[in-house]
């Protein structure tokens, strides 16, 4: 197992190098904007544009720029300097990452807390009113875009502009270390809005997995042996049915940690997603590259975690 993990970690480095090369090509070799010109502002003199280009190293050859980037990133953990914020990208990312982590983890807890019981009950009571109702609502939740749902919730439930003022609204985020009560209150709506479509999808996925597993021979055998239904469900059905969920969960957490752009934007949460959004809007290439790399890191790393968790969930899986 240890050798496997080491090998996978090495692959993570290779993958990140590939991702960085790809983002470099996309954003630096064939860029959609000229950052020096954008930074220079309106009516700049050619000298000013050139001096900015020189300051950012954009006047070097493309391979030299990429080599510089790799050297800085690998040797010093330096992801470059934000054109828009006048701040190191690494500092910006560290500054924004906690909010994204809180948002993601809270939403994960919400969607798992909703999806697992709903999916399970729907499967056990297949075709019941509960099942039909739950799956109908799930379909609606999957269809509702986060941005739209967020705005609807704000207009309905936020304390500042809502018709039924219950929760703190947009722009109220504060770090938990500053004021935990306000932090918690400000995150309730974002957590539920972000979790809605995931909860719906996971409930449907779990339901179909449970139904599939319940038709397996070993479940019939367990029941024939007189094992109580509750134990059959918990020890045999759930364990198998959860495995595909873990795969998807790992990827989803990775994607969200890379930036829940819509939720962060609509609720004005200063996380990685909003940082990416601003960077794309402003053509802030180093920040785009930094956030893309961060997202890629989370995805490949959580894939590794998922594979390790697999081994514990399914005893048949062995890594060598």
């Amino acid at each position: 197992m240890t050798a496997y993990i080491v090998r996978r970690l090495a692959w993570i480095v290779v993958l990140l190098a590939l991702v960085s090369a790809l983002t470099f090509v996309v954003f630096y070799v064939v860029p959609s904007t000229d950052p020096a010109q954008l930074r220079a502002g309106r009516n700049p003199s050619p000298d000013l544009v050139e001096s900015i280009r020189h300051t950012y190293g954009l006047d070097k050859s493309k391979p030299a720029q990429y080599a510089d980037f790799l050297e800085r990133a690998v040797l010093h953990g330096d992801l470059g300097y934000s054109y828009g914020h006048d701040e190191p990208v690494r500092q910006l990312i560290f500054d924004r990452l906690p909010a994204t982590i809180y948002l993601t983890l809270g939403a994960v807890i919400v969607w798992l807390a909703v999806a697992i019981p709903v999916g399970l009950i729907s499967a056990i009571r297949r075709h019941s009113i509960f099942d039909r109702l739950a799956m109908g609502i799930a379909l609606l939740a999957i269809s509702a875009p986060v941005y739209w749902l967020g705005l609807v919730c704000l207009y309905l439930f936020s304390k500042d502009i809502g018709q039924f003022p219950i929760f703190l609204g947009s722009g109220t985020y504060v770090p938990p270390t500053t004021d935990f009560g306000t932090f918690f209150g400000s995150m309730i709506m974002p957590w539920f809005v972000l979790a809605a479509s995931f909860a719906a999808f996971y409930a449907r996925l779990l339901r179909s997995n449970v139904l599939e597993v319940m038709s397996e021979d070993y479940i019939r055998t367990a029941r024939a042996k007189g094992v109580r239904e509750r134990i059959v469900i918990r020890r045999h059905v759930m364990r198998s049915a959860m495995t595909p969920l873990v795969t998807v969960l790992g990827l989803d957490i990775g994607v969200l940690l890379g930036g829940a752009i819509l939720a962060e934007t609509v609720f004005n949460i200063p996380g990685i997603g909003r940082l990416s959004y601003e960077a794309i809007q402003n053509g802030d290439l180093p920040v785009i590259q930094g956030t893309v790399l961060l997202g890629a890191f989370f995805i490949v790393f959580l894939n590794l975690v998922v594979d390790i968790v697999y081994a514990y969930l399914d005893p048949r899986i062995r890594y060598s």
């Binding site: 309106r42 700049p44 000013l48 300051t55 502009i161 947009s170 200063p270």
Partner: protein, 576 residues
């Protein structure tokens, strides 16, 4: 006042009302100017909601309306503009009295106030050398400044300084701690003394930040001389300003009623932000444009007193590249101006509340606007019909050598416009107008930053028409609009805003002559004549004179900066 369209270009506007009320009532009952009133309350905290961050918090680099709004309370420029003035009457701020200009106009002497102190941790007294250093640093690569070459390059010795042949600008003298003298090669510098670059920066304190690797980091450590100082700046999140303990109220004309202000950024949805402000307390809008539907309902509803719409917020025009056929032909350009439905261009942006149909480049509140024809324009028939007039367009097409009154469909016209929002709709209306002329439009819709940096300011991109451009004045002089947009000497391979790239009709010589004139009636008339000329030659097609709306909570006595595109002036606003 950075920005080429799409971002809310907004600017100064004046109201005829000087009654001292909270603003005059414009068409539709909308308040058009938030002015100071008697008995404003002292104290309290205001939150300004904004979508974006400042462009750069360093006064030497700042070039964006919202940044000016933030810095208005923390810096003292040599001269500044009272909130209810459209920019044409600057008053001494750091300066102690009006500038003394020599008879030949080439020497400008400014006395500065004594005893103005910097905020902690520096605490020292401001001297004229600090103003000199502030201007000099803006000519260095460490402090990229977008306007310094346009307005301050006429100081003697700038070239030697930027070439590295001189350690200081020889044309700026500081004979004593309270006098600064500018020696000019010609033209006028007085109007530009309101720009943030004239706020003092002490070399002894700032040098270490200016010499940091890459660009100066002084902005993050800047000193204040105004009533407020920056307590914290979190890029993309918030800026907090609090009272400057070293500020001397007797030496500043700003009342500074509020105790503190937070600029809360990241409100990307203007609908939510507007609602939050109008329904909440102690809040005001920053850099975002209120959505047209909300604007309409605010203007017509019970909260109309919370809304101020400022005229003179900039212009919007179609950039026309005259080096590309058939746009080198003046009559084809006139045909485009004639057929374009400018009323529809305005309607998709929000209608009369957000602007007026334009018929020349200078816009209301710019000095020279009235001399250039005012709202009626110069009377050309190709600007006469706001909804567009195909018959007039065909007349000009015939004059251009198209006997049928229609162009050839084999002539393709590359149009590059924005890919979102009303700007996208504007581009599509222009596409239709080109079709009506008989040409084959090819519309490429891209993000605004791509449109600007890769297409519409890059001559080699060979874009014929750019429908989403606009411009706003830097200060009251019309030259801040006409020189950058039309002077052929400003044509550059990248970052080119002289979209027409037109070198004929003596435009360049006219502009140089106007630039050389000292401030006064002759200069104003010279710029007005140039405006008439470029509008008659349709070197760009103007279509909107912008207005800019701002909102505040009901408990805010809102005062706005008419000179700064109507932004909230927190040094004059107060809580009720």
């Amino acid at each position: 006042m950075l920005v080429i369209a799409a971002l809310a270009i907004a600017a100064c506007g004046g109201s005829d009302d000087d009654s001292g009320s909270s603003g005059s009532s414009g068409a539709g009952g909308v308040s058009t100017g938030g002015k100071p009133v008697d008995g404003q309350k002292k104290g309290g905290h205001l939150t300004v909601l904004a979508a974006s961050d400042v462009d750069n918090i360093d006064p030497g680099q700042a070039y964006y309306t919202f940044t000016y709004e933030v810095l208005a309370g923390t810096i003292n420029t040599l001269y500044s503009v009272r909130p209810d003035d459209d920019g044409s009457n600057p008053v001494p701020d750091l300066a102690d009295g009006q500038p003394k200009i020599s008879d030949d106009g080439k020497t400008v002497t400014v006395k500065i106030k004594t005893g103005i102190r910097y905020s902690p941790p520096y605490n020292k007294v401001v001297t004229s050398k600090d103003v000199k250093y502030a201007i000099e640093r803006a000519f260095t690569p460490a402090v990229p400044n977008g306007y310094i070459n346009s307005y301050f390059a006429k100081i003697v010795g700038v070239q030697a300084f930027t070439d590295g042949k001189a350690k200081e600008i020889s044309g700026i003298d500081t004979p004593d701690d309270n006098t600064i003298v500018f020696h000019l090669t010609g033209g006028d510098i007085v109007g530009a003394l309101v720009m943030p670059v004239t706020s003092p920066v002490p070399e002894a304190y700032a040098r270490k930040y200016d010499e940091a690797k890459g660009q100066s980091t002084y902005g993050r450590h800047q000193l204040a001389t105004g009533p407020y100082m920056i307590k914290s700046y979190q890029p993309g999140k918030s800026i907090e300003v609090v009272r400057n303990p070293n500020w001397n109220a007797d030496k500043d004309y700003k009342p500074a009623y509020l105790d503190s202000v937070t600029f809360a950024e990241g409100y990307e949805d203007p609908g939510v932000a507007t609602r939050r402000i109008t329904d909440g307390k102690s809040q005001a809008s920053g850099d975002f444009t209120i959505p047209p539907d909300q604007l309409k309902s605010l203007a017509q509803g019970s909260k109309k007193d919370q809304l101020i719409v400022s005229p003179g917020a900039g212009n919007r025009y179609i950039g026309v590249n005259t080096t590309i056929k058939p746009w080198g032909n003046v009559n084809v350009r006139r045909a485009l101006a004639a057929v374009l439905n400018r009323q529809a261009m305005l309607q998709v942006r929000g209608g009369a509340l957000l602007g007026e149909v334009a018929n020349h480049i200078l816009y209301p509140t710019v000095v020279g606007f009235e001399e250039a024809g005012g709202l009626k324009g110069a009377g050309q028939d190709f600007y006469a019909a706001p909804q567009g007039d195909l018959a007039v367009a065909q007349k000009y097409m015939k004059l251009a050598g198209y006997p049928s009154g229609k162009g050839s469909s084999s002539t393709t016209v590359l149009i590059v416009g924005d890919n979102t929002g009303p700007a996208k709709l504007n581009a599509e209306i222009v596409e239709r107008a080109v079709s009506q002329l008989g040409f084959k439009p090819v519309l490429r819709e891209v993000s605004h930053s791509t449109m600007i940096s890769k297409y519409c300011t890059v001559p080699k991109a060979k874009v014929a028409l750019c429908p989403n451009l606009g411009w706003a004045k830097d200060f009251a002089d019309a030259g801040t609009i006409l020189d950058p947009l039309y002077n052929p000497k400003n044509i550059v391979p990248q970052g080119n805003v002289v979209t027409p790239q037109y070198r004929g009709s003596g435009i360049g010589a006219d502009i140089e002559k106007a630039q050389a004139l000292p401030a006064g009636k002759e200069r104003v008339e010279a710029w007005a004549a140039i405006d008439k000329k470029v509008s008659d030659l349709v070197l760009n097609v103007p279509y909107i004179w912008d207005k800019y709306p701002v909102v505040a909570s009901a408990n805010v006595q809102m005062v706005n900066q008419l000179w700064n595109q109507g932004s909230i002036d927190y040094t004059w606003s107060s809580l009720k």
